[in-house]
């Protein structure tokens, strides 16, 4: 019952926001002091939303799985709407060209997973801890399982 409602809420969020990952956890410090590792970002990905400088976009480099959260610092948009843009982490000295694919100088709309619209600090730390320390994840599951069992007994 809980699992199916959680799943419904998640799927509902995906539809409402238009993004395949409507909520992401910040994994690196490249956007400090605004975002720190463990913060939570809420994304939307409406196609009609134009990409403009200053926006914080979450993008994936072709061939890589990890989404990157950085700011748009340069855009060149054609009349037909085709746009190429450049990103940079607030806390980085240089732009992201070193992170893109070999020979790639620009990002395109298709690389964008979403635009950061909302922010909640610290809450995502739990997923990072569970990723970095799998023993913690198992311990947590064990405690939750034990709690359910104990509750039933009384």
């Amino acid at each position: 019952m809980i699992v199916s409602s959680a799943l419904m809420i998640w799927k509902g969020l995906i539809v409402i926001t238009g993004s395949e990952s409507p909520i992401v956890v910040v994994l690196s410090g490249s956007m400090e002091p605004a975002f720190h590792r463990g913060d939570l970002l809420f994304l939307t990905n409406f196609q009609e939303d134009p990409i403009r400088t200053g926006e914080i976009v979450v993008f994936k480099v072709e061939g890589r799985d990890i989404p990157i959260v950085h700011r748009v610092i340069k855009i060149h948009e054609k009349e037909n709407g085709n746009i190429k843009f450049l990103t940079k982490g607030d806390n980085n000295e240089v732009d992201d060209r070193g992170l893109y694919k070999e020979g790639q100088n620009w990002l395109e709309k298709k690389d964008v997973v979403g635009r950061a619209r909302g922010f909640l600090p610290y809450v995502g730390m739990v997923t990072i801890i569970m990723n970095d320390y799998p023993k913690f994840k198992y311990a947590l599951l064990a405690v939750m399982g034990a709690y359910v069992l104990l509750k039933r007994e009384s």
């Binding site: 002091p33 400088t53 200053g54 450049l86 060209r97 100088n105 909302g118 922010f119 600090p121």
Partner: protein, 186 residues
């Protein structure tokens, strides 16, 4: 049976305490967000440009094509005091140039940026600033461009809540020269 009873009490008290603290924190966070969500976050800004120069070189920042490279020296005055409140962690300021060329209907280039944390001086009084980032065009669209507009904008980063982009009221239009500067330095 007695010991089992105590353990249960401790656990259930810990559970209630945890749930209560979580609810209080969530309520405070939501309060932070909702009390500032609809606030006006724009202030007047004064931008002036004292010097403009244009070169045409190979874009060494990435695409290896000969492109227009602009140099702008500017002044910026703004008082951002009223934007800061209990739910503003920092402002990410950026000065951007917006213009149109034959090659691209819309171009935007961030020339300069600055982070102002809550507690830092919110009054901006910059004179004779050179751009932080290279102002390369995607082509040769800066030459003779009469309408390059500079605006100052900021991303409001809250303690919790929405991340709006706000543009200050006040901009300046910069006409770029028709010829390239051949002298070595700027």
């Amino acid at each position: 049976a007695g010991q089992g009873g105590e353990m249960n009490t401790v656990l259930s008290r810990a559970n209630s305490l945890f749930a209560f603290s979580l609810s209080v924190m969530a309520a405070l966070t939501f309060g932070c967000f909702i009390t500032t969500a609809f606030k006006e976050r724009s202030v007047p800004v004064r931008i002036a440009v004292s010097r403009v120069m244009l070169k045409n070189v190979e874009d060494f920042t990435g695409p290896r094509e000969r492109s227009d490279l602009g140099f702008v020296t500017f002044d910026v005055t703004a008082d951002l005091q009223t934007i800061f409140d209990w739910n503003v962690k920092q402002l990410f300021l950026y000065l951007s140039a917006e213009y149109s060329t034959k090659n691209n209907a819309l171009n935007q280039v961030v020339l300069w940026d600055k982070i102002i944390l809550r507690g830092d001086s919110p009054k901006l009084l910059l004179k004779d600033m050179k751009s932080k980032y290279f102002f390369f065009d995607d082509g040769i669209g800066l030459k003779g461009n009469r309408n390059v507009t500079l605006t100052l904008s900021w991303n409001v980063v809250p303690n919790a809540g929405i991340l709006p982009l706000v543009t200050g009221s006040g901009h300046v239009s910069v006409p770029f020269p028709d010829t390239y500067e051949t002298a070595k330095s700027y």
